[in-house]
Symmetry: C2
Subunit: 328 residues, 2 copies
């Protein structure tokens, strides 16, 4: 595997906008309840790649009518929605750490975490009110949150089951990840003043890299080691989430009956998780998933509107390459 | 004491609008995740007095420019925000029932309850996008959610403590209840096309009855019996929430040291709760709280804008009287 590019390199063209975003995120989480401000500051400091607002800002700046001050509140709103949904996910999963940092629920308890998440969702909508955005923006953000919730619930109802197929899997990851990236790119086009067909093209690009991104993430769960991916391998299997490499292995592996018994067992042991990973790694599930991710990245490169050119085009293409390059 | 008036009598002038609200609430909670639709239907069926959207609709209809179809989405958004905050409260409190009905978290688990709440918050913002409302509406709703969250957090940080005063208590209940009712009345004025001073007057009316409403609710917790109020008396004391009658008793009761020892004890027994209630009932805390509630109701009647007349005025005055009449 070659040199992995850092997201800050990919997005260097929008470095000033990303710096302004950080400043805005820091300022926006001030509440009359000091504890909310404290939790907000913790969450902003905990980092994250800011991939979603970066795609939005890139799309916005690539179109003619870019105004940094007009674009920033929506970038912050996008990241707040992402952060809020992670905070609530951590409450639900009773997660203790995320990206190596203690979670809000572990540090302050469920009440504070749930309410801070709610506060951040509301802050996102506050940020886009009275800022001169089209009314479609609020509608898109609301649909985005609703899609994330519905995706989580659909995933939950499919936990520890073994009868999946590609179509169901892709619907699930679209709601969980790809639709979010699609909306970021689309909103960027809208705020940048791009014509409808360019917005649609940007949205399709975002959807395609989002699909590749989640498939790659799911592959990492099978192929990565704990040190690299920041969480134990086989985390999805342990939590009952059946992903594409596993779905393929459930169809074609000679050990598919054993794999099925493991992934449907809510009481699975660590040894069983290790065995399941071995079965999936030995199957053609890994290759199939990688091919599927590559197909989406190829689609993303082709679908990127011609109107997006120059440094913006380079960045979009590098973002797609980055997702394909993620280390296994 | 006398005959208690039902809210449906008070709001009979807006009965058609309330019926349309119910229809809209039923239709609006449809999601791509069938489970979210199911939980939403359960929550709508579980009822509630719809006091907040009723105040909003009353304010809107009392002003000249009322259009039922234009007003309804915001009424539904208001109730959705109220419902979502209750759903999240029940997750936090691990509540098993509300108004005699099983809670979402008890029936479907915390994950579904948290995500359904998030979905409802987002639906509230979706409902007010692209409906021709002024942009202030989205901003008000966001501020409302943020105030509710901050109020809950402030209340939480004051649990099982005994050093309170009227000012701190009133700031707490304003954020928890009164500001919500104030915003409902103000939004009604805005959507009804009332001039700014009428909107401000409606907001002040809503704030005043909201303060009285919460003080009365807190009094009920001390004075009511389980059969009447649908939850065990002393629930606030048990949960560490120190309310106005208790604050007064902590200052003036001859048994104040004993009361202080009980309300600050996180391990308090049922017997201790009963004893605390007895101390508060024997103190002048009950009379003081009732006087404070009456002061706010008097203020509400005076502050109601002159422009609100006819059946609307009657309904607003009856709403204030209803809050004062709530049975002890």
């Amino acid at each position: 595997m070659g040199q992995i590019q850092e997201t800050k390199d990919i997005f260097h063209w929008i470095a000033p906008e990303l710096a302004l975003l950080e400043k805005t995120l820091g300022e926006t989480l001030i509440s009359t309840a000091p504890l909310i401000s404290e939790v907000g500051a913790h969450l902003v400091r905990s980092g994250g790649k800011r991939l979603r607002p970066a795609l939005y800002l890139l799309a916005a700046k690539s179109c003619g009518g870019f105004d940094e001050n007009k674009a920033t509140p929506l970038a912050a709103a996008i990241e707040l929605i992402h952060m809020a949904s992670l905070v609530h996910d951590d409450v639900i999963d009773q997660a203790q750490t995320r990206r190596g940092t203690i979670t809000a629920n572990a540090k302050w308890g469920n009440q504070v975490a749930v309410l801070t998440g709610d506060h951040m969702f509301a802050q996102a909508f506050a940020l886009v009110s009275n800022k001169g955005y089209s009314e479609d923006v609020g509608e898109r953000l609301a649909a985005l949150v609703q899609g994330l919730c519905a995706g989580e619930i659909l995933q939950d109802s499919a936990l520890y089951t073994a009868d999946h197929n590609l179509e169901e899997y892709e619907r699930r990851i679209a709601m969980k990840t790809a639709d979010f990236l699609a909306i970021c790119c689309e909103l960027g086009g809208m705020v940048g003043g791009a014509p409808t067909e360019v917005c649609e093209g940007l949205k399709a690009y975002g959807k395609a890299i989002g699909m590749a991104f989640q498939i790659t993430d799911d592959l990492l769960d099978v192929m990565g080691d704990e040190e690299r991916i920041g969480k134990p391998a086989g985390n999805d299997i342990r939590q009952g989430v059946v992903t594409l490499p596993v779905i393929c292995a459930l169809e074609t592996s000679p050990d598919r009956d054993e794999l099925r018994a493991i992934v449907t067992d809510r009481e699975m042991t660590d040894d069983m998780v290790v065995r399941a990973i071995d079965i999936v790694r030995a199957s053609d599930g890994v290759m199939e998933a990688r091919k599927r991710a590559d197909k989406y990245l190829e689609e993303a490169r082709h679908i990127l509107p011609e109107a997006v050119d120059g440094e913006a085009r380079t960045a979009f293409l590098e973002a797609a390459a980055y997702i394909g390059q993620r280390d296994f």
